[in-house]
Amino acid sequence: MRKGAATPLPMTGLPANRTLLPAIAAGFLIFSITLAAADILSFPSSRTDLSPEELKRVHDVVSPTGNFLKAEPYEAMQGGALTAIDKVNRDIFSKPSASLNQEQGQDFHLGNALFRKLWVSAPSSTQASDGLGPLFNARSCQSCHIRDGRGHPPEEAGAAATSMVLRLARTAATPEEEQAVRDFHALNFPDSTYGVQLQDLAVPGLAAEGKITLSYSEEAVTLAGGETVILRKPQYGVSDLAYGPIDASITLSARIAPPMIGVGLIEAIPDADILANADPDDKKGTGIRGRPAIVRDHRTGQLTLGRFGWKAQNATVRDQVADAFSIDIGISTPDRPNSHGDCTPKETRCLSVPTGVQKRLGDTEAPDAVLPLVTFYSENLAVPARRGTGSSDVLHGKEMFYRSGCVACHTPKFVTRDGIKGSDGKDSPQAFQLIWPYSDFLLHDMGEGLSDGQQVGVASGRDWRTPPLWGIGLTQTVSGQQAYLHDGRGRTLTEAILWHGGEAEKARNAFADLSKEDRQALINFLESL
């Protein structure tokens, strides 16, 4: 089936099944106004999956430690029973959850094959493998999530950025649009020409949208003891625009691909446990607010808690995967059925390019088995075990991490929900695991230095989701380089910490004021994650 030029441009965040929308829109609207007013209240305030006795055990085990003389029980197994205890090498982020049976193991490998698959432009002999683009940022998932690790900013001028993208968005311009944002039907609004993202690659014969330009200015920061660190501040722009100017109201947000490990475990954290750390009005008076990202589940349209993406804009791994297929690779799936990806009606040639839809294999470019398999694969990428948790240096660094106030947002541990089903419909291996992501999965104002001025749902340009820290010490091993924060500007962990501002400024200053040895210990602790 061909989704041609007549297909309306999707607003970001709309439920996937748009054909249903007109019919239920009216009812939806009334319903969602009520919800919008009481969005947080509609979520459970305490978890219901455990007996009172288990709840107490869970509460005790996730309480922050005060003992830095020795490692905590279970600490090294930061992904619970699913932790990868394999030998550390560059493939350490690509290990399956330790508890998969052989059938699940095969699904994992099939998902991995699809994750690495290079999609090709239509038409080709490989009818199940074509449909790339027409506009795209990468040909495969793996191109950006290199060995399932993080991406990086482009190294050379003029080359395709691949593992970094520019999101294009503006805020609401009409009362209707404002209402759509209030009702969580839209996160923001795309550029009328270039869509939601700048694709700097295109199938042969079609012009790519343009290029990312990137330059850095440097700024020296002096830390206690006189050590100087040079921070690089990026300036983004676009050049070689092929389809005319970008609208003046559009902001650019650069995002690198985040590491994939542990996302299934993150999805299994109870809403109540994440919301327990939220303090949007700073009632505790700590200066640290933490706001939940309220978004709609793509398939059900239900309001839910966003946890994935730099702005926590997606609630489930599957939603995140479907968005990436659609926007980054230009491959349609049942959840994001537009086979022309991010082409807009103003990009007429783009809309006339052949799609890779084969009726025999389903209505979208990726055969129906693809999205569930890649989702299952993603959910089961294991978190590697920690190294050296018991060494005195790492423990000292852990103490510095706690004392500097980092744990106010980088929440050390959670216990995942019990009795849940996985995306394959079977008992989830992710159920009831003590995990150590070092994140609260909430949005925080990170200050002007990190702001990109782009609103995404409830997140302003200054707000970013606390990213999990597990595996961060293996960045160099897996990726061969280090690039931290949403746009990869941090070349070292120290630089990344020094960029923290806003709600995190106090912790950042505490770090900067530590002695050189203490700072190093804190970094060593991060390296052990």
């Binding site: 029973a81 094959a113 239509a122 199938v203 070689d240």
Partner: protein
Amino acid sequence: MKLKINFGAALAVAITATAASGLPAFAATPEPAAVLKHYTKLAHAKYQDALTAAQSLDKAIDALLAEPSDKTLKAARAAWIKARVPYAQTEVYRFGNPIVDDWEGQVNSWPLDEGLIDYVDASYGTESDENALYVANVIANKTIKINGKDVDASHLTPEFLSGTLHKAGGVEANVATGYHAVEFLLWGQDLHGTGPGAGERPATDYDPKNCTHDNCDRRAEYLKSASTLLVANLKDMADKWAPEGEATKHVEADPKAGLTAILTGMGSLSYGEVAGERMKLGLLLHDPEEEQDCFSDNTYNEHNGDAIGIASAYNGNYTRIDGTRMNGPSLHDLVKAKDPALDKEMEGKLDTTLDAMKALVHRGETVEKYDQMIAEGNKEGNATIQKAIDGLLDQTKSIQRVIAALDLGAIKLEGSDSLDNPNSVFKKK
């Protein structure tokens, strides 16, 4: 001379005896270093064989281009199929050896952007009215637009193919070079779906005097350049496995890591790559072209070659393309000394897989090609493939047991109470 230095005198004698008789001489357990040495020697021989066969292919392509005819085209196709035999057996070196894995994309990348290279069938899909973009193919166009930029494609040199046509260095590079690009240029698209028949490119596609599908000179230039690149790439990898080569040194640097690399290669190729990606996925999607070698219908031979390579990595045996038999210290010897029952189990499972692969090849040669076997509703064809998949999956379990038996498994975690027993995790009461 180098052998003796590495092996030690006694072992060198044992190996000489083994090599002479073709049978295990006595049950002396080889040192891991000797096993690794032999593994790298086999790699060197296999890549040299792949290179030799690719050079023959290159010559056959020269003959085709000099005098395009059904006969020379047929000979070139036969040379391509022959060239794949040793290459398939090298694939077990890919996983576990980053040097091979990083290089592999240039020579074996799949699937292919056919429309970027040459003409493709206009009846494809349902959008034949919008096929203006088919002419985006580089053989037909001296200037093509890549990523919005006009690229000068007046000379289809090897450098142009590897450097310009594809962004060098990235994961996404190289879908227009390698074996499958050559395959496409020799066979053309297979338009028979799940029915019988392979690609049917006419020899006149290369005949400037009697040219079909236009641009025969440029098609010839592309084919020759792709073939030249393939030879150069294989030469490069064969050199890396020479006694002092980079890949050899990498394997020999650390005995434990080296043995792990062998077993990782066997396990990853068996489980994720061949059983999963190349076989099960095709069965699952029933895509007639979700197969290796889709233009030539040579797929069953590839899977068989991979299985032979996996067995070879374990037992240390390899028959070169000139018939020379090689054998020497192997994992089989190590495991036999440690746990004879496990060795027997491993060998038995490798044999079971090889038998299933033989049946697959037999069916491919006598009944139907691989793309027909995976068709929906083809019970017997599906079952033949499934049997080979089952064999590969089952042998993976034994490979895992071998890893454990040789103490190559999970790293020992230190430094936490919970890690005296690494499986100790927080559980429900």
